[in-house]
Amino acid sequence: MTALRARRELGVLLALALLVAFTAADNSRFLSSQSIRDVLLSASILVVLAVGQTVVVVTRNIDLSVGSVLGLTAFATGKLFVAAPGTPLVVAVLAGVGLGALCGALNGALIAAARVPALVITLGTLYVLRGVDHSWASGEQINAADLPRSFLDFGTATVLGVPVLALVAAAVLLVVATWLGSYRVGRELYAIGSEPAAARLSGIPVGARVFLAFVVSGALAGLAGVLHAARYGTVDATVGSGMELQVVAAVVVGGVAIFGGSGTAYGAAIGALLLTTIGSSLAVLRVDPFWQQAAVGGLILAAIGLDRALAARTARRAAARSAADAAAGQDAGRRGEREATHGS
């Protein structure tokens, strides 16, 4: 199973490699360090969101509010620096993550209390949080000039040529992927998504775990909000609008099953990277932006088709295997011997 999943992620990676190779063949500047840096920078924020979304999606839930959470925390971060320009970076990050976690907790609490699918609840909070953002900003825009130099530097700085934001995203990815893959709580999230009824019977605190998943997703969306403010410097109330769909697309393309139970944060991150790369490579290839959307759509459909095909093959193999087992394990008359005494 792990081999099959790994192959699924390799597939996305391969698609990414092909795309890069094709674009670079057309325009070698696409592989310049500047252009790679740009792609990584833009991908970082989507990766952080996609990793958070993975935590929710493996539990057979979805968090549509992440774009609004990102927008709200980005604006809040700007406001914080306007009010207290001397705020240390760490404090700003913690504040953003905290605010995001709070939003996630709101989602989690509503889902637990209302027993309504997460799709509906987070669709609601998507609009509510955006509304809060708008009324708070009331048309105001925060510009780079309002933000301290050090914070903006954080958004563009590099270490050995690698953008710091990309390093942050990679660190988040590593931590969350390890947590999901190799820690009990992480595995319980998969169990819940795989078969919620069985999870309940086996004593997993389903409600608490799903709540936690939403808090994590919210916290990471909060972090993404801070990163967004640092990278772009300009923040108004529309930041992050529609981002949720990109995130869900990245997660699905990366092989995280929308019905829960399977997929990894690595896959989702590669999916996010692929979607970002498509954007810039189609620009390099001077393809009409309309086709960019169509390409993303086609990619999603292809990914879902691939997942279906893989699942069907696993099922066929398993069936063949158990049939073979049954045939091999058959010793003459063992059924008859048991039934002969039974029911007579």
Binding site: R187, A199, L201, I204, A319, A326, G333, G336, T341
Partner: protein, 500 residues
Amino acid sequence: MSLLRLRDVSKSFGAVAAVRGVSFGLDPGVVHGLVGENGAGKSTVVKMLAGVHRPDAGGVEIEGRPVELHRPADAKAAGIAVIHQEPTLFPDLSVAENIFMGRQPTARLGRIDRAAMRRAAEELFARLGVAVDPERQARGLSIADQQVVEIAKALSLDARVFVMDEPTAALTGVEVRRLFAVVRGLCERGAAVLFISHRFDEVFTLCRDLTVMRDGAWVSTDPVADLTVETVVRRMVGREVSALYPREPGANEPGEVVLDVKGLSRAGAFSDIGFEVRAGEIVALAGLVGAGRSEVVRAVFGVDRYDRGEVRVGGRRLPPGSPAAAMAAGVALVPEDRRQQGLVMELSVERNATLTRLRPLARFGLLSGRGERRAAAEWAERLRVKHGRPTDAVGTLSGGNQQKLVLAKWLATSPKVLIVDEPTRGIDVGTKAEVHRLMSGLADEGMAVVMVSSELPEVLGMADRVLVMREGQLTAELPGRRATEESVMFAATGQREGGA
């Protein structure tokens, strides 16, 4: 003193009083059997011990002290390991993870130690004497293997009380014997075991004490040594079960050939299968599990494809691989695995009962809720399905009632040919008798019935003709009157001493 005691526990689901004032105790080192018809409330008792349902009244005591089992985790903490009747596996996760979920062995920094987990799973399987790959995904495991994983999971808990709700329902003779050895081993180490099964031979070999439940109420608890099968059956059913097989094979004058199968073959599954079934006849397909009987009937019905051969119903050839055409021609297939193929567990009783005949019920293309309810109620009534409200989800019904509902669903299509795969697997004597009576009545009304069955008494007691398969081949056709256990087993195994 009992290790665990149920004191006057009761539990209702809406109008259904599933368990009413049940008390009995489990002693250390003893296997305690629990029997009762489907719907008697056994699984509900189990779920109260598992912390899944909270009793409405009464309670559970361990070593004389009352314990509150509010959640499954409480039951685990109290040392109670439960094998539920329905599989509780996570299909996307590996077998080893399924066993150790929430208790995975960890290494440094709380990281799961996959190698240790794999080894531990292998040890458990070795103890059970079965070969299941701990690394494989649980999805696609055979029912028997799923059951084995459930058992391994319970063993891994290292509990003092083991509760097993029909653990053998899907197991073969060898696996059952291994399970028995393991259960006896647990008892030797002082564990108390509650064992639920519909098979009297198992109950009488394994258990020391036996509790009988009927209609949610406690009937009796006695040492098995003081009981006979007859007394137990009488207590379970509350009446004499006089004729388990209401039919006299060959009594009906068969009518026209309704189903005609010729030269049906599929590479690797079955080859050159040919038989006829006449109106008013019950034909049994006997043989060992894996002989290809289910594959043949699935191909006849069109769920699976076939390479060669033809299927005719009423003289007209059925297009291969089209269940819709088979249904239109009046063929019905009641599948073996009702959980996977027959019912939609989340849908309501009435919805399930009418899923197959939506078209005739529809008016101007729209479903009429009233017509649907009426048809379902009619068949549920005829089959005496015991359920709460018609709108309850099917998953809440007991096994026998689910089986009856699958039958109801298909009978509502008024088929000419009824194919039933293992009609009474995992259901109790009383319900069995009802299903047999029903099938017999349908044949009397002129239906052609094909029955795949692994239960020899059922084959011998019900069939006008017995077809026996071995390794994908039809090896014998015996008239019902002349078929004996020996002749069927001989044809099924190719050996005289088949049953040894």
